[in-house]
Symmetry: D2
Subunit: 203 residues, 4 copies
């Protein structure tokens, strides 16, 4: 059985801008997933026009439909958000809003289209906010049908009011690498189980 | 002394779309402000191109600078957000991100440019989430220099898993009108005091 | 394979007080679990002396150790919290704090003692706050090793500023019963899978 | 005009236990308040029996009524909470629950008994969570009638997954001292204004 992961990078900066700390964290996760036999495709969301709305297609120019298809083709979703003011950023929120449409998108057994997928979260910031970003994303992702393995987050933040970026750390702290490995190990284990044993539908 | 209020409507729908429940709440607030002698200008954010970023000008095509100017020209800011998944929406988050720039925008006395302004919040949703939207917006707004009068929110949500829109209620519930009046009364009172008695600067 | 569930009722009222709306929701969940072949034991936390702290035994008079043992003997944990001010209550927070000790309580394979357990959440309130209570509890429970099946919450709240208690509703709304059934179905399915296929340890 | 401040320390440890990092932060704030001419009384909540509930007197053995009286005798309330799992602790939540009673405690003009008081927040933790603790406490405190001056928080947290306590830092970081000074300066300024110019009542 081959599993696929998709990683969404919700940094506010497009690929043409400065390097992204969130990208570095997602890259660590992709490497750990790879060791577990899972290939990860990463999408830099700021490069796309994801229109505001809560449907799966917001019409002309909306590039969400293509991203949505890639999400649903995968077995594991990793949502990466930078922290601004201790909170998830506007692009990760946009993603949740667009997935709100899943509530009405059911398969023949009455399960949301996302059922059977495992979600995990990556969070980075200069300082403070990782746990809360997790809380927000966990709740949103779980509401729209994703399963969460234990310790479903890899994160880094600096000391209070710090200004260091994760991407500028000379080395990845061991504690961070440990959360990355745990995230990959647990999410892959769970995704395999669920792929072979789908959730029951509603009669 | 004449005070001015600015109301930001962060509905995901542009003016050309369906009517906005958030607009109805902001309109109630504007009426209550008017009774207290304060004129309110409302901006429908989805009509503008507010680019992602955390500076006050994100370059070509960015329409935030004009909105930012109007905010800082006012004495009271009312930030209105719909609820999606129990959380503030991506457009209200975008506003907070852009106001993150205030941290580095000081007057001669070392006060953020927003010091002296009162903020309030309006929240509507089919169901559940108003208190949390408040919490997120209060914290973000307070971080970037706004003052919060007591009971700085007017909100409405329906019963759990409801689908009624605030705009479709035949009448505004008395409890809602009460929060609207309280918000206007307290915010105007505080804004007047603060206009006449600015916060001390940092030496 | 027989599974066991434990439900923690964190209402602020002891059993001698008024009836608990949280109890009613937990009872609905227990009935649904029962249909799926899982017996649930419910504990009314306000009847016990759970001392403040972040260890598994806070000394003389602390009744947490007995509750902790029952949690770890079960396969599924349902944490039920009333809403106060849109937030989880102090007793559910106390439970999270005491489970903070799990971070240092590992089995021989380096897995937290809670690994392999599924958690779900029940939330009730007169009004507003269910999604946020979920977010807080999901994050806390996931941090200390629990797995979350999709749609891991059953909840009810009334309209904004309402004062009706869930226990006084003449009938359980169909939408609520649906979330209860989904919670039980998904959590039991996942708990079975995980019991037969434990998460890998850390080498 | 002489103003009084009350600081509530919601550490989980009683005075007989280890020293409290929250205490250190509250002590810095008290010193800054003192410079602004305001005396602060600090209460270590874990030393008292604050019973669960949402009224102002939960009967035999309840020591909240005495604390409540001291709060309402003051002009400024500073609520200090340690961070556990990125969230406010169970004792600060207990305080909010007990203040829920203010909703029904009005003066002759229909204002909550807390109207006219300024609130501020102090947060410390080994790592991550300060902004979210703020958000929770700001919302709860504002709901029950408190006013929030700009930058109403002083906080410190270490790097992600750190284990250093604020009380063990050899020196108070300059950035922290700056937030302390700002908190005191702004809160005292606002409390004075409001004491001389009470919020209007409801007719």
């Amino acid at each position: 059985m081959t599993l696929k992961a998709i990683a969404l990078n919700s940094t506010l900066k497009s690929s043409e801008g400065e390097p992204s700390s969130t990208e570095r964290m997602l890259s660590l996760i992709a490497t750990a997933m790879d060791k577990a036999g899972v290939k990860t495709q990463t999408i830099r969301l700021a490069d796309f026009n994801i229109k505001p709305g809560v449907t799966s297609d917001e019409g002309e120019g909306d590039e969400w439909p293509g991203i949505r298809k890639k999400i649903l083709d995968a077995d594991i979703l990793v949502l990466g958000s930078p922290i601004w003011m201790g909170q998830p950023d506007s692009i990760s929120k946009r993603v949740l809003e667009r997935m709100d449409a899943f509530f009405d998108e059911m398969d023949d057994e009455g399960r949301m289209v996302s059922y059977g997928m495992v979600a995990a979260v990556a969070v980075v910031g200069n300082e403070d906010g990782a746990h809360h970003v997790c809380a927000e994303l966990y709740q949103g992702l779980n509401d729209v049908g994703f399963t969460l393995a234990p310790n479903a987050v890899a994160y880094w933040v600096g000391e209070a009011m710090g200004s260091t970026n994760f991407i500028d750390l000379p080395e990845v702290p061991k504690t961070v690498q440990k959360t990355v490995d745990m995230l990959a190990r647990n999410s892959v284990h769970l995704a395999k189980l669920m792929k072979n044993n789908p959730f029951p539908g509603q009669k």
